[in-house]
């Protein structure tokens, strides 16, 4: 499988021609340096654009058209990647070989319509649409608390000031109030002109046809766009670990940890940290799982997650209320055990095999293929074969050396208390 990169002037087109799939997937990515006060706008924009267009002015008409196009699937998402914020619009439709003639063209034009021909009146989005989407976003911000795991992690991250990862990715209620159909439209135009844009196409499809449709509909004209370093600046090592506790009426307490990564090399950031994380808390064979859950039955789950481009590593667990001190001790012990080299060759090998399997499995789906090629652009990641070879090269010594660059910084506990009314 190869990817053809085409410079279209103001944006880049990446075509992966393959007959593995019966579908065609197109993903349009807009990215720029993350700014806290823009998060809510982008989160809202991803819904507004998918709600209606000039041609299909109501949500219902838009959905009926997508069903008529053989249930074309449309998805938008906003995410942060290090210092970048990325807004992506993804479309997947049945290749016309499995539906009917001219469906490819109609489907791609449908996406173009959504991105470039929104429902505009008097230099503003439709007020009704914006209001509806605002309400929807308000709800998703408010329901974050229903998911105790996500909620606690977001509170943990919020304790760190002025780092992109401390921003709430859903957006903020106080910013939402300030957004209206006019300033959102201005932001949309700004995004089209100033964001870095990468478009990916995966499927068995005619290259010239795609290029022609894009040339006709994609009107952005700005050629010089600022690039940002994706890597978030390191957090200083904290001499004393910071502890925070919040009480809530929950049956299961959530205990979370933030560790800093300090002085990682490029190889460590791309490869060694993945092996380290897999061993520490990546699976049910991990040291954390074994120590905290299996041996001591303290927790239902315990995991770790590395965010190497944020220079942090997270550990989170769901535990029996009242056990947080014991669990904290066990987690600290697990971290020092790796540093002292208390890991077996077997653990290293299993972790490496698991990561390699994961890399291989990604290229079985259009999404995985796009992610692979996008990572090459974003963080200069290696191709699949090189990545597999480099993971194989990681040794026990490498993991131990890396462990000394990881330091516990902050803990956040959502402690379960009994409801006093009952």
């Amino acid at each position: 499988m190869t990817c053809e990169h085409i410079n279209m002037g103001a944006y880049n087109l990446h075509i992966i021609n393959t007959n593995t799939f019966k579908t065609v997937t197109i993903e349009v990515n807009f990215r720029r340096q993350v700014a806290k006060d823009e998060i809510t706008k982008r989160a809202l924009l991803k819904n507004v654009l998918l709600n209606s267009t000039k041609r299909y002015p109501t949500e219902r008409e838009l959905i009926i058209e997508s069903e008529n196009l053989y249930d074309l699937k449309l998805l938008s998402s906003s995410a942060r990647m290090g210092n970048y914020t990325n807004l992506s619009f993804k479309m997947r439709f049945l290749n016309e070989k499995f539906s009917q003639e001219k469906m490819n063209k109609q489907s791609i034009e449908f996406l173009m319509d959504i991105l470039f021909n929104p429902n505009i009146q008097n230099d503003a989005f439709d007020k009704n649409v914006v209001d509806k989407c605002k309400e929807k976003l308000e709800k998703s911000i408010k329901t974050l608390k229903d998911n105790k795991v996500k909620y606690t992690i977001s509170k943990l991250l919020e304790t760190i000031e002025d780092k992109p990862y401390s921003y709430n990715s859903f957006g903020y209620l106080e910013d939402l109030e300030k957004i209206d159909e006019k300033n959102l439209y201005n932001y949309y135009k700004d995004m089209l002109n100033n964001d870095l844009i990468d478009i990916f196409v995966v499927g068995d499809i005619d290259k010239t046809q795609i290029k022609d449709i894009l040339k006709e509909h994609f009107q952005t004209r700005t050629f010089h766009k600022p690039k940002t370093d994706i890597l978030v600046k390191e957090l200083e090592i904290s001499k004393k670990v910071n502890h925070y506790t919040e009480e809530d009426e929950v049956n299961q307490s959530q205990l979370t940890f933030l560790c800093t990564l300090n002085g990682l090399s490029d190889f460590e950031r791309k490869y060694t940290i993945r092996v380290y994380n897999e061993i520490l808390g990546g699976s049910s064979n991990s040291i954390l799982f074994d120590t905290v859950r299996e041996k001591n039955s303290y927790a239902y789950y315990v995991n770790s997650d590395q965010k190497s481009y944020d220079n942090i590593l997270l550990i989170y667990s769901g535990i029996e209320p009242g056990n947080s001190e014991e669990v904290t001790k066990l987690i600290k012990k697990s971290l020092t055990d790796i540093e002292k080299g208390k890991i077996s060759e077997e653990q290293i090998n299993n972790a490496k095999e698991t990561i390699i399997s994961g890399i291989k499995a990604t290229i079985d789906s259009p999404n995985g293929i796009i992610n692979t090629y996008y990572a090459m652009i974003l963080v200069n990641s290696d191709d699949v074969e090189t990545r597999i070879e480099n993971i194989k090269k990681v040794t026990k010594e490498d993991v131990i050396k890396l462990a000394s660059k990881i330091h516990l910084h902050t803990t956040y506990l959502l402690e379960g208390v009994k409801d006093e009314d009952n």
């Binding site: 579908t23 069903e67 053989y70 049945l94 009704n128 309400e135 329901t143 929950v250 399997s357 290229i363």
Partner: protein, 425 residues
Amino acid sequence: MKTINLKYVDETIYYEKLDNGLEVYLYPKKTAHNNYVTFTTRFGSVNNEFVPINKDKMIKVPLGIAHFLEHKVFAQKDRPEPSQFFAESGALSNAYTTFKNTTYLFTGPNKLKENILFLLDFVQDPYFTKENVDSEKGIITQEIHMCDDRPTDVLYEHIRANTLHSNNFKDSIIGDVEDINSITKELLDTCYKTFYHPSNMFLVITGNFDKEEIINAIIDNQKQKKYTKQKKIEIKRPKEKNSVVKEKEIIKLNTNIAKCAYNIKISINIFDMDKRKLNIYMYVIFGILFDDSSLFDEEAKNKKIITNSLFINVLNCDTHLIISLINETNKYEELLELIKEKLNNIKINEEDLERKKRVLISNEIFSFENIEIVNEMIIDSIIFDNHIETNIIDIIKDLNIEEINSIIKKIDFDNKSIVIVDNKK
């Protein structure tokens, strides 16, 4: 090996039934890099009254035992721990329990044959002791607590509890703390011996492999194990009244936005129709009436009663269908009123039906993008239909407005139960 050709989607599944009764389904795909393998027993949370193997009397076992057993099957005597073994070749293993089945699985690109044989070996020879059974109770109790903290899980539990009287679907898959504490090694043995016989199980392999090599390895493996022939397992048939248990309940919980469900209970006996086809019709009817392409959806959003479209769930619990219309909104009373109004005045036209047929056909083809989905689809077919439907697209094409109208006429839309999870503050 038998060949099962799926019309229109241009795909083939291979099938073999072994001497000991084990059924094997294979879906080889040349372009795949990964493999997905599942080993399933027809034993789920609803099967808790049955005649144990070599006995003649019906017994009742604690609720949640199928799920408990799933956890304990991973306990081994002389073999390496299953997740460790799979991890050596980079494979991930897991298991899950539903109402009607328990499934053990792994996924990974390497050493497929060795991993399949290990999957068979570990599931077919677990090691239960009094100690390891007791130590599991704490872990499962934690899992129960985790569900109690999720408002949506609480809603789903109440939907079934408030619509069903005696049908076992009313209980949660995981059981409650009291049930879990009454489980013993002996009870696990009884369930295991009865339901984990090869004739009650099936293996599904999807991925990139040589089907002859794989099936031969499985046949060899099974030949080495001694199983005596087993009669068909006698399971208590559910009896269920047509009425609901509670017409309305409001549960107070710690949540910002209320969740509500409008649940219609429909007896399956009143329809003289294949159950797969009936299920498809229910999705079509309630989709046209309430999904994001419906007039209802447009109206409810314009009136700011809802912000997200309703989630439509069809639960087939053998005796009845429970159709649930679910949403998150603090204006739930208005929503329930609007739903009721719509149900009193149902109109479905030809154009809507034809559009939904396109959607259904397209989804059948979409499924074959992903070996994991194909695998799950095969499991679902075996559990639900007991075979793989080869002409599902023909069934979809034959859907018609006359049958829709006759189904609608038979449904008593007033036979409903409303469940609301609201903020206690």
